[in-house]
Symmetry: C2
Subunit: 259 residues, 2 copies
């Protein structure tokens, strides 16, 4: 059995604004304890990409960015700031689509979406206009958080680094997992039988993205300052699957029908 009958999603409000070098485990745990709770073995801790990127110093001053010729041309075509386009290109492996205001990119991590995760909302601009990049290696960031919780508390948790993603045919963002550690990311039922004994052909379930989406239902998108959610009651690892990374989610390029 790979399912559970019930689980809970618990937001962690009241965290301070995160800055480069901050100890996320310590800050989150301190606040969660102040709320009368703590991490438990089996919890999956969901961290908004934004606080992970900030703590890892991925904030870039636009004044420090020198746009290439390619970036300037693309910026004119899409009516965007050439310095932002330079950052987007430097974070990406492929441009998939463009139109005024929009660049659909394949990020070097394999993620396909608007603007390669380069974002200007909910970051400070006191010292000049800024942008925030995705973590260099979100799976490693998740693993590090997981290992530090194990070392400091002696409890085994799963960790997901969540981001908001658009999709080509559906309006509105959903949560996706861009980093993961300690959990089954893809739950593979292929080759199993359905409840009438008929072979299941295509049932590979993306648990990590579903958990990220559940987390975003309590995470704030604007001023709510709730960049952390704890999932309690879901198994970390299901069936005979293993712990996996979010990098495994990327569909191989040779199976991409929409390049």
């Amino acid at each position: 059995m790979s399912s559970t009958n019930r689980f809970e999603v618990i937001g962690v409000p009241g965290l301070p604004l995160i800055e480069a070098g901050d100890d996320l485990v310590d800050l989150i745990l301190t606040q969660f304890r102040a709320l009368g709770n703590s991490f438990q073995s089996g919890d999956t801790i969901c961290l908004a990409q934004k606080i992970v990127s900030k703590s890892e110093g991925r904030r870039v001053l636009l004044a420090d960015v020198i746009p290439s010729e390619e970036a300037r041309t693309l910026a004119t075509e899409t009516d965007k700031d050439p310095r932002l386009v330079e950052l987007i290109l430097s974070e990406s492996s492929e441009l998939l689509r463009k139109k005024p205001g929009v660049l659909i990119m394949r990020h070097r991590l394999g993620l396909v979406g608007a603007h390669a995760g380069v974002d200007q909302s909910n970051i400070g601009h006191e010292d000049g206009e800024c942008a925030l990049l995705l973590p260099v290696d979100p799976d490693a960031s998740a693993r590090k958080f997981r290992d530090e919780v194990a070392t400091r508390l002696g409890v085994q948790v799963g960790v997901i680094i969540t981001d908001s993603a658009n999709r080509p045919w559906r309006l509105g963002t959903i949560g996706v997992a861009i980093g993961a550690a300690g959990i089954t990311v893809l739950d593979d039922h292929r080759g199993g039988n359905d409840m009438y004994g008929r072979e299941l052909k295509v049932t590979l379930i993306n648990r990590a993205d579903a958990i990220a989406s559940a987390a975003t239902l309590v995470m704030g998108e604007t001023t709510e300052q709730m960049p952390v959610a704890v999932i309690r009651g879901l198994p970390l690892v299901v069936g005979d699957a293993e712990e996996q990374t979010a990098a495994m989610i990327n569909r191989p390029l040779d199976e991409d029908l929409f390049r």
Copy 2:
């Protein structure tokens, strides 16, 4: 404030197999009560598409399907049963991509995905090989369920009809909302400010798909027979938004960059 601090996802196990004409409200409520629970005002009831389709008699005997010339040609190209291809074409408005074993279609409801929702798993085939189609109008099905709960119990619930969907660049299915009633489907923060007072440009949150994904984490995909999940603790309607339908999720055709 449009967020909540915590919510719970409760699976409803032990339902009987659903057949055409079954009273879903009665069957689910009876079973949920047998488990010591009941629907409460503010709950969002998530129903797997499969049980809604079955109760609405959307099961088709393949022996009754006569493939058109177009269906036979496409079946040969993609190595599929011509009768299934006929059903897929009859449910669709547009073929987006094809390769052996795969047809990516735009369903007449606007949903883009493999095989227009025509599925052969977890349905009975005692009287010959069968396929199950999506409900004719899933938003209306959700509305009907919601209204019947209000009439019979006097409680106001939200309803989502969930399906599993693939995405072009990410492996593994997630839950999506193909029908909805009584909830805010798209939570619009566009035009608001971020926590530093900067205007938010693109934050439209798809709550319905996120709730559907949360629900699928307890819903079974194979033999678990858990086609219903109750979300408790999330507001039905957020901010100054209204009740919406799942049809609103479809990105307008003229904004589709990946046709």
